[in-house]
């Protein structure tokens, strides 16, 4: 139990500190690296409570894919200097009210969720009943996701698909003058259309039509 507590507090302290550093560090790229550290320590916490599937998926999806693209964008845009300007300028106090409103909203949401457990303990029991059995967390997740919650699962998949299509449509633009490689065109070229032998008369040259 002591080892468990040591690991729990190590991971949670790392998670909290890196979450603070995400907002506190001046360099945007450093912020993203701290965000990644946060993700990793949270997935360690997930694994510690026995939700190994969730922890691994968190690692694969957030750290392995989302954060890489995030880092990619941050590095390409070079937002580091902009962020420094925000910190340096006096107008940064303008953002405080908006931030306060959002954070109080999130705070009350968390209170409602935790309060729900407190005042309706039977909800907690229903959710917990699956983990009591001998099958592993991954199996129980699969069994509940594809039977009881299949419609919710499908709808969330559809929402993701719509979001993906929307993102592609919004950023898609047809560029003119871009030369594209067409493999079929290249392969199906015959010798006749590639090479032409001409009789060149002296002092006249040839006219090459293109």
């Amino acid at each position: 139990m002591i080892a468990h507590a040591i690991f729990f507090y190590t991971f949670s302290i790392i998670a909290v500190i890196s979450a603070i550093m995400v907002t506190a560090s001046k360099n945007t790229v450093h912020s993203v690296f701290f965000l990644i550290l946060d993700f990793i320590s949270i997935s360690c916490l997930f694994i510690m409570i026995g939700a190994e599937f969730l922890g691994m998926i968190m690692l694969i999806v957030y750290v392995g894919a989302v954060a890489v693209l995030f880092l990619f964008v941050v590095m390409m845009l070079n937002v580091a200097q902009q962020k420094n300007q925000w910190f340096a300028g006096q107008q940064s106090s303008k953002h405080i009210p908006i931030g306060l409103i959002i954070s109080t909203l999130i705070f009350f949401e968390i209170i409602i969720v935790i309060g729900g457990w407190k005042y309706k303990p039977e909800i907690f029991d229903i959710n917990n009943s699956i983990s009591q059995t001998s099958i592993s967390n991954t199996h129980s997740l699969g069994q509940i996701l594809y039977t009881d919650y299949i419609h919710v699962f499908q709808i969330s998949g559809m929402i993701l698909l719509v979001a993906m299509v929307g993102a592609i449509v919004l950023t898609f633009r047809q560029r003119s003058g871009v030369k594209r490689q067409s493999y079929i065109k290249q392969i199906s070229r015959e010798r006749a259309e590639g090479v032409e032998v001409l009789e060149v008369q002296s002092n006249k040259g040839v006219k090459i039509d293109d």
């Binding site: 080892a3 690296f33 990644i36 691994m56 690692l59 750290v63 392995g64 894919a65 590095m75």
Partner: protein, 332 residues
């Protein structure tokens, strides 16, 4: 005291796994260069030790005694962290590789997900190195590798789903045992080919070595590194390649299972079979390096997103429907 003895026991186990892995990484570098040389009708490294076997050791010694240069304009903490991250990630993944039914450091029930997660984290070493160097070529290499590894990870993930459909478990030992009657390379042969090519791209091997394309980017993300830090990148890279070979051997070639289940072959320890399969795949990796020219970047992206991803997705549907209609779905 009890805790201490448990810790020591685990440390011994880890050392017994990691030291052979590191030694074999050094040997495998020699093998790679030898195969490469033989394809081009050269001798390759053959001076240091018998058949040049100690070449990698000599190289490592040379790297250790070289000066580590840290560029003054670099981001020092991340610059130093990058090779460490690469090396650590390449080594921690070996914890779940089963060398026999019992010889496995951590027999976790989401083993394949762990392998996939760790191999997808490998990109961070490269991005960190490229960005922290604060120089054009390393940065370009890092950006290239980020896009490349994310793209090919997707198809590797879908291929893993194919195998998992046939197994019904995420545990690596279960995956090996499920291939008792037939290796998955036979029914899922197209997936094996795609996995092999994606593994080449995931480990930045030729023909997909664009992050370090020496004709274009000097040495890509490792341009500013020297001495031991360069050697760590190099070791991590080869440990990653061995890891992908091990993953291929477990997913498609029956892992530690002996290919023929008759008397003289069953005497050979299981671990030897796994090592032989890893070596087979590695020699294929080395041959590809010698034979194939480098891809252009847009061709690489096209191959990943427009060819491999649709193909492997279609194969998932095919496998799932076949297993469903012939009632072959694994039930536990």
């Amino acid at each position: 005291m009890e805790y201490l003895s448990i810790v020591f026991q685990e440390v011994y186990k880890i050392l017994f796994l990691l030291v052979p892995v590191l030694v074999s990484v050094a040997m495998v570098v020699w093998l790679d260069r030898r195969v490469w040389a033989f394809v081009q009708k050269r001798q390759g490294p053959n001076v240091v030790g018998p058949f040049g076997l100690l070449q990698s050791l000599a190289d490592a010694l040379k790297y250790i005694f070289k000066e580590i240069i840290i560029p003054s304009s670099s981001n020092k903490v991340i610059f130093i962290l990058a090779p460490i991250v690469t090396m650590t990630l390449a080594l921690i993944a070996w914890a779940v590789i089963p060398f026999s039914a019992t010889q496995v450091l951590a027999d976790i029930n989401v083993g394949i997900l762990y392998l996939f997660a760790v191999s997808s984290l490998g990109v961070y070493g490269i991005i960190m190195g490229g960005w922290a160097s604060n120089s054009k070529y390393p940065f370009l290499g890092a950006i290239r590798s980020a896009a490349q590894m994310v793209s090919y990870e997707v198809s590797i993930g879908v291929i893993i789903i194919n195998v998992l459909l046939c197994v019904g478990s995420l545990n690596l030992n279960d995956i090996v045992i499920a291939q008792q009657n037939m290796w998955f390379v036979i029914p899922l042969f197209p997936m094996f080919v795609i996995f092999f090519i994606s593994a080449l791209a995931e480990t930045n091997r030729p023909p997909f070595d664009l992050p370090e394309a020496e004709a274009e980017l000097v040495a890509g993300y490792q341009t500013e590194y020297s001495g031991m830090m360069y050697a760590m990148f190099w070791l991590g890279e080869y440990a990653n390649i061995l890891l992908m070979c091990a993953m291929g051997a477990i997913l498609f070639l029956g892992g530690w299972m002996s290919p023929i289940d008759v008397y003289p072959f069953t005497l050979v320890p299981d671990a030897i079979w796994l090592i032989l399969k890893i070596l087979l795949l590695f020699i294929l990796f080395a041959l590809v390096k010698a034979i194939v020219p480098r891809y252009r970047y847009d061709q690489l992206m096209r191959l990943g997103w427009k060819v491999f991803l649709p193909l492997s997705l279609i194969w998932v549907v095919l496998t799932a429907s076949y297993l469903f209609y012939f009632n072959l779905l694994p039930v536990n």
